[in-house]
Symmetry: C2
Subunit: 339 residues, 2 copies
Amino acid sequence: MPARLKDVASRAGVSIKTVSNVVNGYVHVAPETRAKVQAAIDALGYVPNPTARRLRGGGTGVIALAVPELRSPYFAELAGLIVRAAEPRGWTVLIEQTDGRAERERDLVSGLRRHSIDGLILSPAGLDATEVLTGGLPTVLLGERMWDGPADHVAVDGAAAAADATRHLLRLGRWRIAAIGAPDRPTAVTRTQRLAGFRAAMAGSGLAVDPRLVVPVSGMHRADGAAAMARLLDQVEQPPDAIFCFTDPLALGAIRTCADRGLDVPGDVAVIGFDGIEEGRYSTPSLSTIAPNTGRIAQFAVDLLAERLGGGVSAAVPPRAICVEHRLLARESTLGRLR
Amino acid sequence: MPARLKDVASRAGVSIKTVSNVVNGYVHVAPETRAKVQAAIDALGYVPNPTARRLRGGGTGVIALAVPELRSPYFAELAGLIVRAAEPRGWTVLIEQTDGRAERERDLVSGLRRHSIDGLILSPAGLDATEVLTGGLPTVLLGERMWDGPADHVAVDGAAAAADATRHLLRLGRWRIAAIGAPDRPTAVTRTQRLAGFRAAMAGSGLAVDPRLVVPVSGMHRADGAAAMARLLDQVEQPPDAIFCFTDPLALGAIRTCADRGLDVPGDVAVIGFDGIEEGRYSTPSLSTIAPNTGRIAQFAVDLLAERLGGGVSAAVPPRAICVEHRLLARESTLGRLR
DNA sequence: CTTAAGTACTGCAACGTTGTAACGTGCAAA
DNA sequence: TTTGCACGTTACAACGTTGCAGTACTTAAG
């Protein structure tokens, strides 16, 4: 039984609308009326009812964030940053997990309208570009996509970043370089781009890519990396001297397998990942990686959504793509112990 | 401009209310009327407006989950499980980050009413027990608390689990055992309980706890563990032969410092953590830990909330406390390489 | 043949809010 | 003085839904 405008109004001896005006900071309210109303508000502990506001035609202050899964550290950290970036705007974030299944993404995008949601930040993993718009919801896409997608979109340049990782290995004098995390299906855009960058950097150094050293995975977790590394070591007579893993968890799993097999990292095999998750700073050996600026990704995602929502950008404005910078973090898994 | 009841009604040639009755499965509707209405619903793609329903007095299908931060792997994994457990009930989960600040928790609990939320699952870190109820929202608490708290509550027995961890170290013949993660303020209930369990197990073996080996921390991250370990090593002339860290990230940070200082884990120092996060299975050395059954924690939390919400349990029923089992996962950081 | 109970459906009001239009004021400009 | 205007305030309607009370008709019971 929370206080309503009506209660405040009768206590302050004014009309409902005047209270509404005070609450909403309308200018033309006599100071003493305002004070009287404010006193009543404080006395009753009045808090506006957002449901009613929404019904009347406003926003809900809730946006949805859809990621493959929260147990992936990269997405957990990103989600945390997005929640934080949404805070100053007074938004709360509703989180959905897609499990990376296009079908589930589709259900989500179309079904989210049932909730009272202002906008969507979607990290798609397999949804066809054209399908994204069907929801009719203001949407921002995260992650490496085609740059002419159907919605606003924030990402790093995956191919360039992958090439940077590869070149880092090449600069260290490694040339028999494996790649773990190749796509197992054509819709996995992120992995396809990273693979392309890998190939480009190899080609740039005049090196051929041994097909047996390109290992596809079905998941992007530590277990998948460990299994892929084991498979790789079992299939080739001579192990690679370096590995570019397309995510940090893949790399950490691969490193674990190396340890189990008695391979020294980076002595025998240098390993570099991709994500820049905090875990890699403290692992043994610490993990060299490509770190997208996740803070800026989160900020841009929220800002782009805010612009679409606030009408700052007409719906007719074509989708914008923002490319966020990345850094190469060279650590022990490629450089060795530093001291 | 989605279709409203009114639109469906005029298309089907019936009253608004009859359409409402059909949508809500009211029994006394003639089959042919129902079919006619259903056809209109399908034709117009009518979807009920949840905001209006909520205003009228129903639930929203949205629950809130408040955790300290998503970047903590334990909470990220738990959040993922809760989102998944909420799915079959048709609930979506709105996530808030408290940063472990009681003040922020207070704001959240009282402010969440502003959103249209049916219930709250709160993992408190410092909020006084009595304050939790002020929100007036059906609430389930997570994490080790007083067992006579003001709301339904799911947790492992933190003291018993901590004692298990300590006894594991004792069984390995270690006796100079340090604890990293002691509370730096009295309201940190979780850490206080784990410390109590640690002390109890030590006392049970007739061992005194060297106060210098009990290290308080201000945060529970890898960095805090690394710093605490460094502080510990700097302060005592002879390093401990084992360390119980109150969370896995603390343990992983501590292990990292050991590596930097040339201490072998577990040769020189055995390390055990608390959380059972996936990361510990793949770290080098893999991390011994206490693993609460997070799957069941998530399930119970959602189920308890559902009971309060669904009226299956009267509001008068006193708060229930569910104690979830935990397992000791003994791995390399205490046992050494197994092969 | 009346009465009661049940079925099929409808209209109205209410949930709490805000935009719009309107109403008096009082004061400055005509 | 009259006009005009800005100010302070208010009544009313609407947002889309559902509970309640009611109407009209049908069937069963007394």
